[in-house]
Symmetry: D3
Subunit: 247 residues, 6 copies
Amino acid sequence: MAKEMIRMTWPEFAETGDCAVALCVGSVEQHGPHLPFTTDLLIPYDICLELSERCGLLVAPPVYYGYRSQPATGGGMSFPGTTAVSAATLMKLVEEILCDFHRQGKKKFLLMSGHYENTAFLSEAAYLFTEAHPDAKVVMINWFEMLRPETLERLFDGKFPGWEVEHASLTETALIMHYHPDLVHPDRIPDQEGKPFCPRPTVYPEPAGLVPPSGILYSAKGATAEIGGAMAEEIVDAIAGVLADEF
Amino acid sequence: MAKEMIRMTWPEFAETGDCAVALCVGSVEQHGPHLPFTTDLLIPYDICLELSERCGLLVAPPVYYGYRSQPATGGGMSFPGTTAVSAATLMKLVEEILCDFHRQGKKKFLLMSGHYENTAFLSEAAYLFTEAHPDAKVVMINWFEMLRPETLERLFDGKFPGWEVEHASLTETALIMHYHPDLVHPDRIPDQEGKPFCPRPTVYPEPAGLVPPSGILYSAKGATAEIGGAMAEEIVDAIAGVLADEF
Amino acid sequence: MAKEMIRMTWPEFAETGDCAVALCVGSVEQHGPHLPFTTDLLIPYDICLELSERCGLLVAPPVYYGYRSQPATGGGMSFPGTTAVSAATLMKLVEEILCDFHRQGKKKFLLMSGHYENTAFLSEAAYLFTEAHPDAKVVMINWFEMLRPETLERLFDGKFPGWEVEHASLTETALIMHYHPDLVHPDRIPDQEGKPFCPRPTVYPEPAGLVPPSGILYSAKGATAEIGGAMAEEIVDAIAGVLADEF
Amino acid sequence: MAKEMIRMTWPEFAETGDCAVALCVGSVEQHGPHLPFTTDLLIPYDICLELSERCGLLVAPPVYYGYRSQPATGGGMSFPGTTAVSAATLMKLVEEILCDFHRQGKKKFLLMSGHYENTAFLSEAAYLFTEAHPDAKVVMINWFEMLRPETLERLFDGKFPGWEVEHASLTETALIMHYHPDLVHPDRIPDQEGKPFCPRPTVYPEPAGLVPPSGILYSAKGATAEIGGAMAEEIVDAIAGVLADEF
Amino acid sequence: MAKEMIRMTWPEFAETGDCAVALCVGSVEQHGPHLPFTTDLLIPYDICLELSERCGLLVAPPVYYGYRSQPATGGGMSFPGTTAVSAATLMKLVEEILCDFHRQGKKKFLLMSGHYENTAFLSEAAYLFTEAHPDAKVVMINWFEMLRPETLERLFDGKFPGWEVEHASLTETALIMHYHPDLVHPDRIPDQEGKPFCPRPTVYPEPAGLVPPSGILYSAKGATAEIGGAMAEEIVDAIAGVLADEF
Amino acid sequence: MAKEMIRMTWPEFAETGDCAVALCVGSVEQHGPHLPFTTDLLIPYDICLELSERCGLLVAPPVYYGYRSQPATGGGMSFPGTTAVSAATLMKLVEEILCDFHRQGKKKFLLMSGHYENTAFLSEAAYLFTEAHPDAKVVMINWFEMLRPETLERLFDGKFPGWEVEHASLTETALIMHYHPDLVHPDRIPDQEGKPFCPRPTVYPEPAGLVPPSGILYSAKGATAEIGGAMAEEIVDAIAGVLADEF
């Protein structure tokens, strides 16, 4: 059974010993008209639960709010409901959570995210934490880095349009279909053609119109729960391998 | 249907208009051998979902990690698994979440907690937020302040031992039995007599032995899901009244 | 003679050895028309001077400005002259003062306050300080926690209305009458009946009219210097006992 | 009568209108074997009380703890009892106090110090405060900048050795003799000759032996209360002139 | 002539009017045995000087120290001399510099970097700055985003190995050869074959051996000053176009 | 040859062993119509390069932006182009740079400035750094403290008007003439007589008109490159002596 801390009692925690701790950091970010705001948290969290069943990872209570969404990766702060915290606060929050688990004797950490914009800040939190606690180790993973290009080619019949247009698109939709079918609205998936997203220099304040009105960069119409399941399997395998190597 | 943001899409959010936003802040704190670490988040969050169904509140993604647990209110940082963040970070986190909803036009907030130790820090966050945004209003509630003493007397047949020994005890157990029966382990509830907790001056570092080894201050044996349901009803009614007055 | 650091020279300090250090943190908060703004500092400071005479405590220069006054405990920021600092700054200030005494070899601290709103922030400062300096110990006391209910019943002839309406009322007035008769204006004490203060959920911005226009929650007319003296004696005795136990 | 806020009630404050507010920031710093730690606070505070009597200044509760003492100005952190806070905290503290008086409608401030090391930090606090509140004005004064060289020549019969060796020496001793004769120990004034202090590049960690073992840089033997009184008069006159010009 | 602020006087600055300001942020990071530590600053700075000559940009004094180097982009903190500041400080520094130019009336900014690791932090600084100053605009560019793949194919005869192994390799070497031939040591360029760099999940503390001992990811042997010149021309053209569009 | 890190490669750095590191912190501040904004950085940096040639100092990449210019020392924030960062950020930046060199084994530091306003903040950075790293030593020098009064008398034929009017005046002009003749515009030196600058209490917001419209406090007409060279020689000699004593 997964060691999901939000459901556990303290005597159960006390038995986890020197088990690695997975901390998932998400985002509250629009994911098109068909996926929930918490897509970026749900995917890493569900993957961690599977890893927990397989190799005994302790899954810590997650952090929902992540760093500001950026147009370049398909989001941007102008969509209704996209809500974020500052870089400074996100870094402190993650650093302190790691520190407080370390105070209790935990020394192996998997820091998981599915929100590209979190990466640099989680990295700094992990740097500061391990600088202060050299006996600890943090492995930091974005789930989408764990999929081989050939897998995506195969699963999407050669039609995977590339990560640069993946936001609320094929991979995320398939994974949520697999893990949380009740949270996907397939009927609302926009038809939108794969107009290649043209990255421009980043401009602040965020210009209007960078992301299509639907909030997605490429139609998710080819996604299925089966594809999601296959992807999840590969990701879980790959991370399990990393954890075996590192811890 | 409850407007639970973690399950919603952005077009659904866009329809919420000037609806009040409920932000729940919990704790990751031991709650005896029979209740989960997230008890202090689950209760306010479930209450907010009920309020959402009744009066249209938008329930924001919650914050799991709260301020450090203190022995005086039944916890303390020495139990395995009790994990917290600093006051400074908690305040910044909450202030920034409120600010980012305000950027999107939300101006009415219910800040809900069930963890006594969060109170002063949520209060400062709300002060700083409304000082910077005078057109916003924050109502801050600990659910346990909403129960009338006479209700507790009645529900527990005159045996309610007082809030000062309530930690993972009668009220919290009853409420989790009502909302999440699968997360309660009634068979593990300690028999422990109601030894009145003797508050001493607060001492740092936290002295050992202030809280009984079970982590609870009074046996939860009298708790039932029915009592929990009756309590929930009174709390929801009371808060609905407050919201009607304030917003 | 009291070891009052604001009056001492460095060779006198050099002789205090490993003596405990008392740091008093007050507030600049209205205390009705008859008591001074610094009531919350004066009472703990005077108590510490007595303790110093009795058991050799070193009384550090005090901190006048405390955390924001809240209506729920009888104050609120809307009265003219009530002046406060942020939680973040108060915590840092107290932590740094403790650290700098520790740099000089002091390891035993009494952190005294008479302003309820300071409590959580002093607590965090003490936590952070002792986490970084595990050889130090901090005892944190609000003077009003040291009085037994039966004493109050006796001293006020059964008319003590309870701490929830005590702000610039019977106990504070009696204590300032005892320690600083020149700072009390008995003729300006409002007649105001003991209208029980009705705590509502905390609301920000602070609503008008929560506290009576006089700034006090209950008439202080029953207070005398004699009662103040008796209270001071019990408080000093109780704290002396705590210090003997802890240090 | 001086408007000394630590002794005032809120209705008295309410009458001060748009009166200028004096905030004194001191230090807890050794001042030789004959003067108290709080010399740097007492002198500005007493000067402000005189100014208050003369021109209606409101004297705010003072800040005792200032910035770290430096050997170059006669102190250094190695003397027993010298206790300080960080630059960051001192700046925030002063900025917030000014802001909170401004919230109440005060716009004219006298920021007074007698501790040279505070200067740059008070300056930054005043800059940040007035940048955020352009309708406010801060006049920042170190009392020792207000004395004319010819006055010192006259009062000390041509034997004033220059400010660079003035620490717990002639001027501070004379002023404390004038304002607080009970806090001076004339019999403990060291005989020490005026060995010119040789400033070297600042070195950290602070080298030992920069300041004579007594903690003073020049014997204070020529100081008298009369001289202190004459100095105080000139300082008060000069500041009164500045305030008349600026406010 | 380039408007290079480090060489200008204030009357010259006063004539720049509403001209855009370029702020370059670099890194102090090893760039192999043949390029200087400041390669990441020199390239953007020289490009900005060219832009200044062409379209009147004001080039602000640069920031040498950037964010920590990461193995994944060819660096890592373990090479001698690689020196960095924290994310929090870098963000504050850049935000404050932008703010202080804005105080003087500048509203158009080009934020230039050549150090990939700076990107997210410069982005946050730009977000916070423009959120507080909505009349300002920041264009943020990494010079390497401005080169078309086909140009690289052509200039390197189809042998450009891809950005993922470009650190102190072909492009940076060619550009420094073009701008600062005296700072390149062509004879020290390692022969090292283009072993494709295998990105693993990021691990903290930084594992040894991720980057080849030379500090470069691919041999720079094909670089020439002529290629550098052609690259510079394309980059300058492209940015000039962006600036014409945005400002 | 000078060990100038901005021009060095990592293998060259690796050979510097336990060599002292010089960090120069400047300002971006008007220096009259004839000197560049970076005068306060150039002078210390050039002096350090000379010291490097003579005694093997490693000269770190400099910090251009310093603390806010103040009228009292000849500047003020109102001149076009004067651009600064906050005290808090400057302190953090310098502390972190020192820390990151210390991580690499460097323990001896020369912290050089030519901008008076930086002094207190560099001092705090050095204090915090050495408090955390007691095996490190920081020598902090403003170049102008290293010149003997008799030298100035001799070099300027008895017409040196004193440091209080030296801003973009005789000494700075002579030194820039010596080190960077191309950056001086002798023909633009104002004729302005030496009107003694009348220091008043510091007032915020900065009053207009404190500094003459040219931005200099005393005409620099007597400055020559030869005088600059003689000054540079004395300063370099003096610092070399200090370094020999301290390291």
